[in-house]
Symmetry: C2
Subunit: 271 residues, 2 copies
């Protein structure tokens, strides 16, 4: 998918919401545990109920790997279901991968070819030759961890290198990599005051923004400082939407929560 | 496994060799492709031929994920085979994971509980609350990416923060984390001159050292500057050993390459 197609979808749906599919068998409605594949059954219901309110889904790989083969199977079924039934949806493998050259190519093949995701999240620590293998894939996007929404972000990301914080160095350096136009960046919503400087470095790139909702980020502030002329934002919400209820009506409850955010986004887009 | 048990194994086998199981179906002997599970068949033959010459095996997750369900199944069989048949061997899931709190716990469960690896490699970029969930597991080890052996290591890892390089900050900061005694560190062999300073910060920790062999690192120099009184080094070699030959005698060829390194290690340990 191209970023133009993503922006078109945003304008049409009046939404730049991404829903995180962090499926925890201890948290999903109990009646689903009788299904042959509870993880996929949960995802399918959530997707069917919310696909018109969001533009992207983001399965978090940690939650699938924790269930071994069963989890990997559920992931395969989920991405296949999305690609076949809702091909307009932008898909993100939240995998936070990153390794040396040849290994990164293998990871890229796993997510871009075998599973056919539109994008994958990647860690920057190992530098250029760990990220460029992902960037080599046409019409695929690499979402680089930049400034995350957790407390540990202050351990290294905000430390000053040559007069500017590490995360700004990551942004600047990444622009020099081959096919850097296929980059997007993870920037946490909990740090809205940083968006102004980030937009000076990457005015056009899409930013994937976690931390709205459960982690307390402020949607208005993020949009004020982070939005560009193509919107340029994907706001992720996971638990606050998918675990809105654990009753038989969990999918409707999730849709309600998603709609609340979508309506707020529609207002922002119209203003 | 405790680090004492690892050191005991090193003394007994006169080896601190780790063999990387980076299984690429394009590179393994052609006759194995007729097997029901060619990846596992390859691993089993390599392990049976080399287990007395090394103390650790390190499957690189990228190579298994690239084959989807088939790859994940082969990984499960490989770790189970190692744990049942060679329980003295130290096992490393080279996964380079790292995510926020709850997600890191899920990754830790995947590798430490579901697959029962002794250790997993983790990226430091997201800081304390992305690594401590791994450190919470008793008798398990978290191997933090510190100074890697690729060219991209110079993009961020060696940049100066508050008067010292980022990778030294990673070492210092990681020592303040809960259960930091369960940490080990990845330090590339291609940068032997850095080992002296690294040993000043983490004198007792085990260092996992890639880059000997295919990447040109020097075993003698690494040992001179990196070894401590408990040896404290695991030297990894992957392709140079496992792809020594693509004939029917690939396992014997791999054992020969492994023995060459083991003999050099025995000499160093005796000196």
């Amino acid at each position: 998918m191209t970023t133009q197609q993503l922006t078109d979808q945003i304008r049409k749906k009046k939404s730049f919401l991404c829903i995180g599919l962090d499926v925890d068998l201890d948290k999903i409605p109990k009646h689903l545990l009788n299904e042959e594949d509870p993880i996929f059954a949960f995802n399918k219901a959530i997707i069917d109920a919310t696909h018109h309110l969001c533009v992207a889904y983001k399965p978090n790989l940690a939650f699938y790997e924790a269930y071994g083969l069963k989890g990997w199977k559920a992931l395969e079924k989920t991405i296949m279901y999305l690609n076949v039934k809702y091909p307009e949806i932008f898909t993100i493998a939240d995998a936070k991968r990153g390794d040396i050259g040849n290994s990164s190519t293998m990871y890229a093949k796993a997510f871009f070819e075998d599973l056919d995701f539109d994008s994958v999240t990647v860690a920057p620590y190992m530098g250029k030759d760990s990220v460029e293998p992902f960037l080599a894939f046409k019409n695929k996007h690499t979402i680089l961890l930049t400034l995350t929404s957790n407390a540990g972000a202050f351990d290294f990301q905000t430390k000053t290198v040559d007069g500017r914080p590490v995360y700004e160095q990551v942004l600047e350096t990444s622009k020099t990599w081959e096919n850097s136009s296929r980059l997007m960046y993870v920037v946490g919503a909990t740090k809205a005051e940083y968006f102004t400087d980030i937009r000076k470095i990457v005015p056009k790139a899409f930013l994937l923004v976690p931390g709205v909702g459960a982690q307390g980020g402020n949607l208005q502030a993020v949009c004020k400082y982070g939005m560009n002329e193509n919107v340029g934002l994907l706001i992720n919400s996971s638990r606050a939407i998918i675990y809105a209820s654990d009753t038989a009506y969990f999918d409707e409850a999730a849709a309600q929560k998603a709609e609340n955010l979508q309506l707020e986004m529609a207002k922002i887009l119209a203003s």
